[in-house]
Amino acid sequence: MTVIATLPQPFALPPLAWITNAWETSCWHATSVNLMDTREARANAAMDRYAAGDASAFPELYDALAPRLFQYLLKLTRGDRARAEDLLQQTFLRMHDARGRFVSGSAVVPWAYAIARRLFVDAVRRDRKEDLSGLADDLVAATASDGPTPEADVEARRMAVELAAELERLPANQREAFLLVRDEGLSMAEAALVLGTTVAGVKLRASRAYKALRAVLALQGSGPGEET
């Protein structure tokens, strides 16, 4: 959601600066991080209480986590609402089943994301089809409404499609690291937990993804779009 929200910015900034700075300099991001922190703290506390046996904490946990998880699942399922809702329900059921394993004081968000991701992968394996490629449509839809002029709108669409196509071409592990860190706002450490790797591993994967996307933006910069 954040990548989508910041996509129009490359037209005002050099490509490299967009990749490295857009996130940090966005006021929208600063606000969303604060909101996210509050929500996360609430979710952590609710999960802790639920794990300790307080059944009344579950609705609070659901309300704090479900919207964010649902967005993530919608992206994974290419906007298939019914499927995303089914996976969301399964994710919370698994969290309920395993609540006795929740470590007191630990973060619930990486755990929830990891469960959702695992259930999605299982579902894809069951259905024998790959599914992470709906991002192009999301990006196009998101950028279409942000363009100030028709020309910029067309350019934004073109850029979004290029970026999404490049993202699709990336190896799955790099794409997932990029989505979790840039799009879902997870820290490197949290993304490492979700993906079952080390922080250094996530950094490497994400930096390779940035490099590939930066190359696309550099090509765009040297193309006719930049000259006009």
Binding site: P67, F70, Q89, R101, V103, G201
Partner: protein
Amino acid sequence: MEKPSPEVRARLMAQLASRPSLPRPQAKRRRILLLALAALPPIVAVLAYGIAWDGRPQSLVLVSFAAAIAVAGAGTWWAMIPGQSTLGRPRPWLRVAALTIPAVLMVVAIASALVWPETQVGLSLDPRSHIPCFAMTFLLAAAPFAAMMYLERRSDPVAPAATGALLGASAGSWAGVTMTLKCADAHLLHVGLAHVLPLLGLAVLGALVGSRVVAMRSDSKGR
């Protein structure tokens, strides 16, 4: 931002009511109880048959026993106690730990051979002489292996095979604790073939079982 429909929430609340799950204090008690039960067969084996000294230096037996306990305890702790995160250890660390267990036991055996060279004579070259210890390691590992897999079932959304491998190697090392007391043959070849090799086998078996049993999966009752 799109939100899930309110029906999902309502459906979930209805399902939770008919789906019991143990909260943390009860779950913890059950884990301790089951692990204690799993430790019974090896303890009973030692109590029933005693320690086989057979001319081995007492210090060698004690060192081997202490090393086996330390390795088994560390492996079990690493696999089953998640640390600061509910998701447990990263996959590479779990894999390394699963391979470290047999490696450390082999290193201890080599060090022991250097300290007590008299234990390296009289090796039987008959492969059949290694089979009983090989089989006994698997047999004694069965209870801890089953208990650990049961306790960790459907719990790992990230690295179930790696967790399973470490559980397998840990279960094997608990069997190794008993074997250090029961087996009087400290020759390196025997230790390698009959005591360390089964641990690698159990790690592979654990990875296979873990990817099915330990993996967190959806179920048909989800909807």
